[in-house]
């Protein structure tokens, strides 16, 4: 399956910065029936804009549409002249945490080298992730350069911790049951 990064507009109706607004105005609208729901539109006072009104399953939504804009904005691209070129990347997990540093095991994902242990300053970690630094936590460490349009390179390092959905009650119970089984196996040896 090949997919273009860019999304081609699938209809001719333009839509830009649409905001979902419940319970719209129904008067003065022109309606058309589309299978499953009704859609209408009425012009706004702003030139080049109209309000689209959708009713689906009894709920109504109004959208302010700018007629000059494409349906779906193509994904914005990074300024092609500036980007973070990664030269070395590790996946790591925390072994121990101290006051200013933490000890971690690093597994190379990109670049040279083999597995190693390292002490890393906590200040290297993205501030929002400080609360995640605990034994067993997984993180990704990228080292490289920001390359500017002028050709100047700025050395850069980024540590970001893995985010996972919270354990569900069922998953916790399964994990506990499995742990109990393993403990029993060890005790039997």
């Amino acid at each position: 399956m090949t997919e273009s990064t860019m999304i081609s507009p699938s209809t001719t109706k333009p839509l830009h910065n649409a905001t979902l607004i419940p319970a719209g105005e129904l008067d003065k609208a022109k309606w058309q029936n589309i299978v499953g729901y009704e859609r209408g539109s009425r012009p706004n006072s702003d030139e080049g804009n109209q309000t689209q009104i959708d009713i689906l399953n009894g709920e109504s939504y109004t959208l302010d549409i700018n007629l000059q804009q494409p349906l779906l904005s193509p994904p914005s691209l990074v300024d092609r002249r500036e980007y973070f070129h990664v030269t070395q990347k590790w996946e790591g997990y925390v072994i121990d945490v101290g006051q200013d540093v933490f000890l971690a095991r690093l597994i190379p994902i990109k670049g040279e080298g083999s597995e190693l242990e390292a002490e890393i300053y906590l200040e290297e970690v993205d501030l929002p992730d400080h609360a995640l630094v605990e034994p067993g936590a997984v993180f990704y460490w990228n080292i490289g350069y920001f390359i500017k349009p002028s050709g100047n390179r700025i050395k850069a390092s980024q540590i970001r911790f893995q985010l996972l959905p919270p354990w569900t009650k069922g998953e916790l119970e399964k994990a506990r049951a499995r742990a109990a089984k393993l403990i029993n196996l060890i005790d039997d040896v």
């Binding site: 997919e3 990064t5 959708d54 779906l72 994904p75 973070f84 994902i109 990228n142 985010l163 959905p165």
Partner: protein
């Protein structure tokens, strides 16, 4: 001079059955898949019953009723991108899924027209075409290879002139997987999680190697 990589991106595209309106940045933050601040600062392009599109600092998400796409233009976040998708379908483990593509895109810029043409000439040699067309040029080339692992699917590579640079080449590598059939709903999300966990690094490395080899066709310094 060696060709310069000017843009790269990775995306994961999944075909299945989705409810676009639920893929709001706030939902991703609630599920601890992105940071709260990233969700608050995300730009919502559109969220309506048929389509949802938003852009966070490093993540783009586009969902229609039958297609889910998550992408990042920053290599430093590729593993986080993978984690978002794994986490999403861990939570939504009952979602019917059919196929998945792990894709990487590269835009290379060459320092001369000659170097740029060298890539096209290598991939689509001109002598035979010269007999059939006047001034032929390669517009796009797609090659497909078989998978060497136990999964059903293929590896596809597309090369075309890049629109991002005067003498640019675009290379796209599509690592395509057919997930378990629709009859086994929960198994398909399990397959997705397994593939993304176990095959991600191989996929990234393979794409990189392919892109480097192709771009090297235009390295006239060698």
């Amino acid at each position: 001079m060696r060709p310069q990589l000017i843009i790269q991106a990775a995306n994961i595209i999944i075909r299945g059955q989705f409810i676009p309106t639920m893929f709001h940045p706030a939902w991703f933050a609630t599920q601890n898949l992105i940071r709260q601040q990233e969700a608050e600062e995300a730009e919502i392009k559109v969220i309506v019953p048929d389509v949802a599109v938003f852009e966070a600092e490093w993540l783009q998400v586009e969902v229609t009723r039958d297609r889910f796409r998550a992408a990042s233009f920053q290599e430093a976040f590729y593993e986080s991108l993978r984690d978002v998708v794994v986490g999403t379908f861990t939570v939504l483990h009952q979602t019917p899924l059919r196929v998945m593509g792990i894709n990487q895109e590269f835009h290379y810029e060459f320092d001369s027209e000659k170097a740029w043409h060298a890539v096209g000439n290598r991939l689509a040699p001109k002598p035979d075409w010269d007999e059939m067309l006047d001034n032929p040029g390669m517009k796009s080339l797609t090659m497909e290879g078989k998978r060497t692992d136990d999964y059903t699917g293929y590896i596809q590579v597309r090369v075309a002139p890049s629109t991002r640079a005067r003498f640019g080449v675009f290379i796209e590598v599509n690592d395509h997987y057919v997930l378990t059939s629709e009859k086994e709903i929960s198994a398909s999300t399990s397959d997705l999680e397994t593939i993304l966990s176990e095959k991600w690094l191989d996929s990234m490395k393979r794409s990189w190697d392919i892109a480097k080899k192709i771009s090297a066709f235009g390295d006239l310094s060698k």
